[in-house]
Symmetry: C2
Amino acid sequence: MTEAAKPAPRKLRADAKRNRDAILLVAREAFTRSGMDIAEVSLDDIAKQAGIGSGTLYRHFANRDELLEAVYLAEVQRLAETADIFDQTLPPIEAVRRWMLLFIDYIATKKIIAPALNNVAGGPQRIFANTGTLIYGAIGKLVNRAIAMGEMRADVQSVDLLKALVGVSYLANTPDWHETATRLVDILLLGSRP
Amino acid sequence: MTEAAKPAPRKLRADAKRNRDAILLVAREAFTRSGMDIAEVSLDDIAKQAGIGSGTLYRHFANRDELLEAVYLAEVQRLAETADIFDQTLPPIEAVRRWMLLFIDYIATKKIIAPALNNVAGGPQRIFANTGTLIYGAIGKLVNRAIAMGEMRADVQSVDLLKALVGVSYLANTPDWHETATRLVDILLLGSRP
DNA sequence: CGTAAAACGGAGAGTGTCTCCGCTTAGGAG
DNA sequence: CTCCTAAGCGGAGACACTCTCCGTTTTACG
């Protein structure tokens, strides 16, 4: 479960797996470096840098979005798993806060990046199905518990909070970004109390 | 001031102005129709539909972003002016709430669209200077008054709220979008109180 | 081994951005 | 009204990127 190299249950041939991993490695590096504006990175370039033909890249990942999702799937899974842990070890509100801060931290440290999230939260019409479900499930669980324990208003929707967070993630370029984000977490939590 | 067709003080030749307006008209229509995913619309297509050569389009607007900003500048100006009115006619918190809701409404009715805002709030590295300053100034003024009157905590930053709002704007495709947005406004305001 | 299925790779078709520069047109001077 | 000049036009084409197609190579298994 910690291994992210096997998203499809179907087993790959040795050379296929090798290439897939090489692509993922190069792509992560390239996406991270380009920060925002993921569209700047050419997929053919990634293929070239990974030492494979572009046809091979496109057989593994049909388009930019699929590649993007695959690159960040592992980290998103980790984020989702941490939600479970927080859920079982921390008081409700604190669990939500900590998870939100962790989420922000993932972005700050580029373990995940905003453009991979834009789409995640239901954004444009793309279909980041896996990633979206994972993240949505994670915060949903935490918020629901907080509501059940009467520590959040029943009308609070976890999506609302998530979307606000994703929005803020979009400006990881300003120097005071991290403060902005944590300030917003506080505002959101305060505003969600009964 | 209500006229948005003269952003540059330099006076245009008659044919130039005619073309510029034609481009803006077609572009607005095209951007609105394409909803999200503005990148889908080809600039050369816009030129063709406006009945001009692509060279002409590119002389007026050097790239997609410049065109995008020009198209929505007028509405953004109106939004900014409304902030002034609210500022003078409504109690502080109410002014902020009403403006935020108006902002959401502009998005819901496509008077402005999210992608034109992504960048606005300092998002990616683009330089939506005019638009950004206008919107930022509008909400900044309202929030500052609310703080001065002791109705919001002094540590609340208007940017924080704005960014959260922009984030939510990104999902104008889900059916319950409007509710989500208004719910978030309430959470933000509640969480901003002293 | 031998062979079928899986995977590779890169040429090239299709599309989009943006530039360049010879031609056209507006609009002021006389 | 006419002429002249600078502002503006337009579209061919250079360049970049995405994605497909298919002949060639590689893997894995009997």
